[in-house]
C-alpha cells in the first residue's frame, strides 16, 4: 500500500467543550475520502485543522511525514461559506494561490485561465463575484483550489449553500474534474447520498465529541447511478450507521 499523504491523530477542545476526541485516520494518495457526520459535530473544525489554520489541543496532523504547515505544504481548501474575494475579478481570484506561492504573473494568469476553463466558466474571467450566481461562486472557489495544483484538496461542505438542482450538477462536475486531474481529496459533508456518489472511501463520524465510527470502501463503478440497488443498499447501511438527520 502507498505511504499515507496525511496522518491524523487529534483531540480538540474549545474551553470545556470537547469537539474532537481521539480522532485518527490516514489519507492515501489520489483517494477521494469523504468524511460524513451529523450536523455540528465539529466537521468544519476538522477541516480547518487539516488545512493548518486551526491548532490542535493534543496529537498531530502530519503531511508527507511533517507537521502540517501552510507555508510548507501545498494544500487547498474550499470553504463552506462563500469565499470569493469581492474586490477581485475572477481571474485575479483564482491566480491568488499561485502568486502567493511565487509563480510569475504571466504563468499564473495562464494557469488561472486553465482552471476557469476546467470548471466551465470561460468568458467570465473579468467578472466580480457580486455579478455571479451562488453556483458560479462555488465553481470559482473550486477553480482557485485547483490552481495551485495542490497535493491535498480539502472541501468543507462546498455545496451546502446551493439548491438541490445546482448541488446535483456540481457533484457531477466535481467527479469529472477529479477524474481529469487526479488529486487527493478530503471532502466533508453531512449528505450521505453525496458521500456515496463521490467517495472512494467514507469515514463516518459520531456526534460531539467526534471520533471515527465506521469506515466504508466504495468501489462501485463510475459514473454512479443514484437508483442502482447496490448504491441504495450502501447508502442505507451508512445512513443507519450515521446519526445524521437528512
Amino acid at each position: 500500500m502507498d505511504q499515507p499523504i496525511l496522518e491524523v491523530s487529534i483531540d480538540k477542545s474549545f474551553g470545556p467543550t470537547e469537539v474532537l476526541h481521539d480522532l485518527r485516520f490516514d489519507v492515501r494518495p489520489n483517494e477521494f475520502l469523504v468524511i460524513v457526520g451529523p450536523t455540528s459535530c465539529g466537521k468544519t473544525t476538522l477541516g480547518n485543522i487539516l488545512a493548518g489554520i486551526e491548532t490542535v489541543s493534543k496529537g498531530y496532523v502530519k503531511m508527507q511525514g511533517e507537521p502540517v504547515n501552510p507555508h510548507r505544504h501545498n494544500i487547498s481548501y474550499v470553504f463552506q461559506e462563500p469565499s470569493c474575494i469581492p474586490w477581485y475579478t475572477m481571474i485575479q481570484d483564482v491566480t491568488m494561490g499561485p502568486i502567493i506561492k511565487g509563480m510569475d504573473p504571466a504563468k499564473a494568469d495562464k494557469r488561472g485561465r486553465e482552471v476557469i476553463k476546467l470548471v466551465g466558466l470561460e468568458g467570465f474571467e473579468d467578472y466580480f463575484s457580486r455579478q455571479l450566481s451562488g453556483g458560479m461562486k462555488q465553481r470559482v472557489a473550486i477553480a482557485r483550489a485547483y490552481a495551485t495544483n495542490p497535493d491535498l484538496l480539502i472541501m468543507d461542505e462546498p455545496f451546502g449553500h446551493l439548491d438541490a438542482q445546482t448541488r446535483y450538477l456540481m457533484q457531477i462536475e466535481i467527479m469529472r474534474i477529479w477524474e481529469q486531474e487526479k488529486k487527493t481529496v478530503v471532502f466533508i459533508t453531512n449528505n450521505i447520498e453525496e458521500a456515496t456518489y463521490l467517495a472512494t472511501r467514507i469515514l463516518v463520524l459520531t456526534k460531539l465529541p467526534a471520533t471515527v465510527k465506521g469506515e466504508y470502501v466504495i468501489d462501485l463503478p463510475r459514473p454512479r447511478e443514484l437508483t442502482d440497488p447496490e448504491f441504495l443498499k450502501l447508502r442505507t447501511e451508512i445512513t443507519n450507521d450515521c446519526e445524521c438527520i437528512e
Binding site: N48, P70, H71, R72, F79, I85, W87, M96, R130, L132
Partner: protein
C-alpha cells in the same frame, strides 16, 4: 441601477421640495414684514452685492469661500493622515486601543466649540483653524477605520492563510482592500463634520476672511440677508462636497456596485 425615468422623477421632486420651502419662507417674510425675515429677493440682492462689491470690508464672497476651503482641507488632511494609520494600527492590534481607550473615548465627546479657549491659549493663526477642524474630522475617521478592521471577513483572511500567505500579504491584499470602502465613508462623514466646524474655527482664527467670519460679521450688524447667504453657502458647499465624494467612492469601489446577473 435606477432607470432614467426614476432619475428624472427624483430630480423633479427635489426641485419641487425646494420650491415649497422657498414659498413657505416667502410667505413668512410677507406676513412678518420685518428685517429679521428678509424676502427671497432681498436675500438674492445680498448675494449679488456680496459677490460683486464684497462685504463691509470689501472682501468678496469668493474670497471668503476660498479661504474657508483652504482651512478645511488643511484640517481634514491632518485628520486623515493621523486618523487612518492610527485606526488601522488599533484595529490590527486591539490591545493598542483597549489600553488607551480611557484617553481616547472621553476626548471624542468634547465638542470642538468647547476647545476654543484651549485653542486660543495654545495656538496662533492658521494653527487654530486647523486644530478645530482637525478635532471635528479626526474622530469619525479614526473610529470608522478602527471598526472596519474588525469587520474584515475571516474567510477572506483564511483563503490567503491556507495558501501560506505572510502577515504582510494578508494586510496588503485582504485587510486594506476590505476596509477601504469603510474608510472612505469615514472620510466623507469627517469632511462633513470638518466643514460644520468652520464657523467655530473662524470665531477664533483672527482673520477677517472666511464664510464663518462673514456670518459673524453680519451677526453683529443684525443683517439677516447676508447671514442667510452665508448659511446657504455653507450648506450648499457641504452638499456638493458630499456628492462629489459619493461619485468618487462609486468609481473607486466598482466591485461593490456592479449589477448582479443572478
Amino acid at each position: 441601477m435606477r432607470n432614467t425615468s426614476e432619475r428624472i422623477k427624483s430630480v423633479l421632486y427635489n426641485l419641487l421640495s425646494l420650491v415649497v420651502v422657498g414659498c413657505a419662507w416667502q410667505l413668512l417674510s410677507d406676513w412678518q414684514k420685518s428685517p429679521y425675515f428678509p424676502s427671497i429677493a432681498a436675500i438674492w440682492q445680498a448675494f449679488v452685492n456680496l459677490s460683486t462689491n464684497g462685504d463691509i470690508e470689501g472682501i468678496t464672497l469668493s474670497a471668503h469661500v476660498w479661504a474657508s476651503l483652504i482651512r478645511i482641507f488643511a484640517g481634514f488632511a491632518a485628520s486623515c493622515i493621523m486618523g487612518i494609520p492610527l485606526g488601522l494600527a488599533m484595529g490590527l492590534w486591539p490591545k493598542l486601543y483597549n489600553r488607551t481607550r480611557a484617553v481616547i473615548e472621553p476626548i471624542r465627546f468634547i465638542p470642538p466649540i468647547a476647545w476654543i479657549p484651549m485653542a486660543i491659549v495654545l495656538l496662533v493663526g492658521f494653527g487654530r483653524y486647523v486644530f478645530l477642524i482637525w478635532l471635528g474630522a479626526f474622530f469619525p475617521i479614526l473610529v470608522t477605520t478602527l471598526l472596519s478592521v474588525t469587520r474584515v471577513n475571516p474567510v477572506h483572511v483564511n483563503v490567503a492563510k491556507v495558501f501560506g500567505a505572510s502577515r504582510m500579504y494578508i494586510i496588503r491584499k485582504i485587510v486594506i482592500p476590505s476596509v477601504l470602502p469603510d474608510i472612505a465613508t469615514g472620510m466623507r462623514v469627517g469632511l462633513g463634520v470638518a466643514w460644520m466646524c468652520i464657523v467655530a474655527a473662524e470665531m477664533i482664527g483672527g482673520e477677517m476672511v472666511g464664510v464663518g467670519r462673514l456670518i459673524l460679521k453680519y451677526a453683529e450688524l443684525i443683517r439677516m440677508g447676508e447671514i442667510i447667504v452665508g448659511m446657504l453657502i455653507i450648506g450648499i458647499i457641504g452638499f456638493i462636497m458630499n456628492e462629489i465624494f459619493i461619485v468618487i467612492e462609486n468609481r473607486v469601489f466598482r466591485w461593490r456596485s456592479e449589477v448582479s446577473i443572478d
